[in-house]
Structures are given as structure tokens and as C-alpha cells.
């Protein structure tokens, strides 16, 4: 007799309470145990790479900052560093320092956001509420520096917009000191609370070998003991003068990912303090020509989620010829589908957020809108449509 094994598939997404952004996963389950996983992306596909080719170098900065809402500054940094290298200009040291401070503040913000989301997925809403409450401290610091909480837009092509005054410096130092205390407390919770450890220990275990093979980056790789951190390997901005110590953990499971992310923040706080106390005096901007000389450049920076890779090619005009963006989440996807198998369904949301996925980061190429199945609209048309709609 031929036995027909029927797969019971639990879809997660594109709309699902566990996912704050659209992505689609299908988990085949046997009882509570997951036997397979597939991924489909593209639900928030916006066509940014194509759009860069029709915009000026300056306009592109603001669009690329919007690739991701959580790590907008790091996209700006990757882009401006690349463009400045192509143009052959060096940004003044004070601007570099301010960029680095905002980078590290952004890392704190991003990891605390992630801590809250991960706790929520684990059904620990109290930790979620508290970590987001404390994250407000960083958001207030962004407000202090740039006026905006999320899209700080501190960068200019060729420098930064905002200076940090002595008074602000003190406020930032106070803010990070408060956060340091809170983070120590959260570290204690995630490493000692038994109900929480029950959900994270030995979940999603990935060995160093697997992490290397699957091409994991950022905290996901570092939690498996892979030494990958662009800030250390190829320092940019102020990192050559204020080196970062790499934070590693050998566990490879979710607990390790929690630990690595939180410990990384202590390192961030240390770097912020170090730079703030040695803030160099200089101009904030340098002139960058409107036409960038022909050439190509590769710009790598360490985003909160891992290595962010930009390939920028200029043909000498006012617009870039080609910009390729490879975001860290894209590298880490591969790890989920292979690690998921054999785990409980209840662990899936935790496993997904374990890599801190950013859907907008993955989906960035061409925007299309379906109009009753027949007409496909391109971005310009869509925009016209939108403008007309509201007139």
C-alpha cells in the first residue's frame, strides 16, 4: 500500500501578527514540529536601485536613507562614503566623529527595538514594553541632535548637517549612562530568567561551520563565533581612531544572539563616550562636485544587522550609473530555512526575529501596482496616480 503523506502547511505572512513587515513563509508541520520552510519576498518591493539611476547624487542620499526605517543612517553612510571616495574628497574629522556617534546610537536604538520585538514574539510583553520605553531615551537623543526621531538625515554628501554642542554632549553622555544601567539589567534578564531561557536556549542552534557556509553576517554570525565585523576588519569613519572590540559568543543559539546584541551595545556606549570626550574641532562639510567623476567603488559598513554592501558605479554624470545594494538581512535569510527544520512551530517567530529580519531592506527594486489585474503601473505613473488621486 502506498502511503500518502499529506503535508500540513502553516503559512506565516504576508500579513501576520508576528511579522511587522510583509514576508511570506510556509512551514510544513508534523504536529508541532516543523519539517520544512520556504520563503517568498518582494511584497514591499520599491524599485530603489532603478530609481537611483534617474536621480541626482544629492537626491539619492535621501532616497537611500529610506531603504530602511530602522537603520536609515547606515545606508546614508554607506552611500556618502562611497560617493566621497569617488569624488576624491575627505570629510573633516568632526563630521566623521558625529557620523560615528549617530551610527552607534542607531545601533543601540535598533538592538533595543529588536529586543522588544523578540520578547514580544516569545510572549514576554513586559520586557517588550520596558525595552521600548527605555529606547525612547535614544530616540530623544536623535531628536536632540537632528530634530527627528527616525529619519535623522544627519548626513550630507560631504559632511554632516548638525553639530554637537557642549550641552548636547552632556545630554548624550547622561542618556547613554542611563541606558548602560538598563542594558545591564536586560542582560541579566535574558541570561537568567528561566521562562525566557526556556524559549531561547538551544533554539536555532547554528555551528560556526554552518554560519560560515550559509554566509551569515553581523550579530547572527558573531553569535556562532564567526569573526565578521566590518568595523573591525575594514574600519571607516572614526573607527580607525576609536577601534571597536569584536563581541563573540560561541553558543550559536538564540540565547547567544541575545547576548551578542546586548553586549555589543556596551561596546557602542564605550565608543560613543570615547569619541565624545575627544571630539575633534573642524568644519562640518566639504564641497563635493555635482558631477561625480567616472569610476566605481565598493563601500562596506557594519549595519546593526550585519555587513551592508554598496557597489556604486559612476559614468561621470549627475546621476549614478548603477548602485547595487546588498543588505545584511538578505545574507541571513538562508540561515532561517535551514535551521528551522526540527524545531517546534512555537519557536518559528522567535527564530525569524532571531536574525532581526528587515523586509524593506530585502525588497528594494521595482515598484509595481496591479490595477484590477490588467494594468501594471511603473513608479512614475503610480506617483502621478497618487498625486491625481489627492487633487
Amino acid at each position: 500500500m502506498q502511503e500518502k503523506v499529506e503535508k500540513f502547511i502553516v503559512p506565516i505572512g504576508p500579513q501576520h501578527p508576528a511579522l511587522k513587515e510583509p514576508g511570506h513563509f510556509e512551514f510544513s508541520v508534523d504536529g508541532e514540529e516543523v519539517t520544512g520552510a520556504t520563503i517568498r519576498l518582494g511584497f514591499v518591493h520599491r524599485g530603489i536601485e532603478k530609481m537611483t539611476e534617474s536621480r541626482t547624487w544629492i537626491q539619492n542620499l535621501y532616497m537611500l536613507e529610506r531603504v530602511c526605517g530602522i537603520c536609515s543612517h547606515v545606508h546614508g553612510i554607506a552611500y556618502t562614503l562611497g560617493v566621497e571616495k569617488l569624488a576624491g574628497v575627505t570629510v573633516p574629522p568632526r563630521a566623521q566623529a558625529i557620523r560615528t556617534i549617530v551610527l552607534e546610537l542607531e545601533r543601540i536604538q535598533s538592538h533595543m527595538l529588536w529586543l522588544g520585538v523578540a520578547a514580544h514574539e516569545g510572549g514576554f510583553d513586559t520586557l517588550f514594553m520596558y525595552s521600548w520605553r527605555d529606547r525612547e531615551t535614544v530616540m530623544d537623543l536623535f531628536e536632540l541632535i537632528s530634530g527627528n526621531r527616525v529619519q535623522h538625515s544627519v548626513n550630507l554628501v560631504g559632511g554632516v548637517k548638525y553639530d554637537i554642542t557642549a550641552e548636547q554632549k552632556q545630554k548624550i553622555l547622561d542618556g547613554v549612562s542611563y541606558l548602560e544601567g538598563r542594558l545591564q539589567y536586560y542582560e541579566k534578564i535574558i541570561t537568567t530568567d528561566d521562562t525566557f531561557l526556556g524559549r531561547t536556549r538551544n533554539v536555532g542552534k547554528m555551528t560556526k561551520e554552518e554560519a560560515t557556509l550559509l554566509g551569515a553576517v553581523g550579530p547572527t554570525a558573531r553569535a556562532s563565533g564567526v569573526e565578521r565585523d566590518v568595523r573591525v576588519e575594514s574600519p571607516y569613519a572614526s573607527y580607525p581612531d576609536h577601534p571597536v572590540n569584536i563581541v563573540l559568543d560561541e553558543g550559536g543559539d538564540l540565547t547567544s544572539r541575545f547576548i551578542v546584541r546586548i553586549r555589543e551595545l556596551f561596546e557602542s556606549i564605550r565608543v560613543i563616550r570615547e569619541i565624545l570626550t575627544n571630539l575633534p574641532e573642524s568644519e562640518l562639510t566639504v564641497r563635493v562636485p555635482r558631477r561625480i567623476p567616472a569610476g566605481e567603488v565598493i563601500s562596506r559598513v557594519e549595519a546593526p544587522r550585519g555587513e551592508l554592501f554598496y557597489y556604486i558605479k559612476s559614468a561621470g554624470g549627475e546621476n549614478p550609473y548603477r548602485i547595487k545594494i546588498r543588505t545584511p538581512s538578505l545574507c541571513n535569510w538562508g540561515t532561517v530555512s535551514s535551521v528551522a527544520i526540527g524545531h517546534k512551530l512555537a519557536d518559528m517567530p522567535m527564530l525569524l526575529v532571531g536574525i532581526d529580519p528587515c523586509f524593506s531592506c530585502n525588497d528594494r527594486l521595482v515598484t509595481v501596482r496591479q490595477e484590477t489585474g490588467s494594468q501594471t503601473m511603473y513608479w512614475e505613473d503610480l506617483r502621478k496616480y497618487g498625486v491625481e488621486y489627492y487633487q
Binding site: L41, G42, H45, G47, E49, K50, E53, K85, T212, L213, L214, G215, E233, S234, G295, E296, V297, I298, R300, E307, F309, Y311, K313, Y321, R322, K324, R326, L330, C331, W333, G334, N362, D363, L365, V366, V368, Q370, G373, T376, M377, Y378, W379, E380, D381
Partner: protein
């Protein structure tokens, strides 16, 4: 210097296949290959554990001039395989003509390349031979065949490229 040492090793590894080396800046090494040698070169790097595949970029190289002289020149596509190792970035570059736009899949050697290869296929129209999952990754399921958004000829759905198909 560490980076220099890494590049020396890479150059030695790629010696049998490299057509040309270039050093655009201190952290980069560009190695020009022909398509037929790609798999062996990638295999060589992977076996020596030289870094990891960080990204695959496609670039559409339109014919140089449209003033009549370059009209019979065919456009070319360039595919760059970026390998990162510490601060060093090694790019394997291959160029292919529009009419023969296919590359071999490196997924057999590096499984995580599948996402980048799917991107190449749907956005540039480069056929990746033997890639494990040839489905759409980011474009909608009902996206018309033969429309490749990141080619320079695509300027929207009223563009000649989209009209043709």
C-alpha cells in the same frame, strides 16, 4: 600588510584563469575572467576558503555611443562576484553579450548564492544555468516575461523594451 598578503594568495589561486588583474584601490582587486572559467575559479577560491561571497552585482553596459558609429555594437552585461575577506574585496568580473546572456550557477559551490542569482535572472535577464530555484524572488508572479527592469532600456512600461515583449 594583511590585505596585500590576502591579495597575493588570491592572485596565485586565480592564476590559471585570470585574464587581467586590476587594483582600483588599496582594498580591492578586480580579476577579469571569461565565463567558461568562472566555476573553476570560484571552486578554487572556495576550496582555499578565501573569504565569502558577499554579493553578486549585475551591470548593464550599454553600447558606447549612439551617434551612428556604435550602432552595430552590441550591448554587454557585466556580472561581478564580490568576495570579501577581512578588509580585502575581490571581484571576479565577467562580461557577456546581450544575445548570449547566460552564466553558470555557483550554487553548487556556494549555496547562499541562490538569492543573488535569482535577482540576476529577473532583474537583468541573465539566465543562470542550473540555479536550484529559478522562481521570482522580488518581482510579482504575473510580471511579464522578457521585461528586465534593471536593464538601461527599461524606462517604464511604455519603454521600447517592454513594448517589444
Amino acid at each position: 600588510m594583511e590585505t596585500e598578503k590576502l591579495f597575493t594568495i588570491a592572485e596565485a589561486l586565480l592564476k590559471p584563469w585570470a585574464k587581467e588583474y586590476k587594483r582600483p584601490d588599496e582594498n580591492r582587486l578586480d580579476v577579469y575572467l571569461v565565463r567558461e572559467d568562472l566555476l573553476e575559479a570560484v571552486e578554487g577560491l572556495a576550496q582555499a576558503r578565501w573569504g565569502y561571497l558577499s554579493a553578486i552585482s549585475g551591470v548593464d553596459l550599454v553600447p558606447p555611443a549612439q551617434d551612428g558609429t556604435g550602432e552595430n555594437q552590441e550591448g554587454r552585461l557585466e556580472v561581478l562576484y564580490h568576495f570579501c575577506n577581512s578588509a580585502a574585496v575581490l571581484s571576479l568580473r565577467i562580461e557577456i553579450p546581450y544575445s548570449d546572456a547566460h552564466v553558470p550557477s555557483v550554487c553548487g559551490i556556494i549555496p547562499s548564492a541562490t538569492i543573488y542569482e535569482r535577482e540576476l535572472m529577473e532583474l537583468f535577464g541573465i539566465t543562470v544555468v542550473d540555479t536550484p530555484v529559478p522562481d521570482h524572488l522580488v518581482l510579482p508572479d504575473d510580471w511579464p516575461d522578457g521585461v528586465f527592469p534593471l536593464r538601461k532600456s527599461f524606462t517604464g512600461f511604455d519603454s521600447p523594451q517592454a513594448q517589444e515583449s
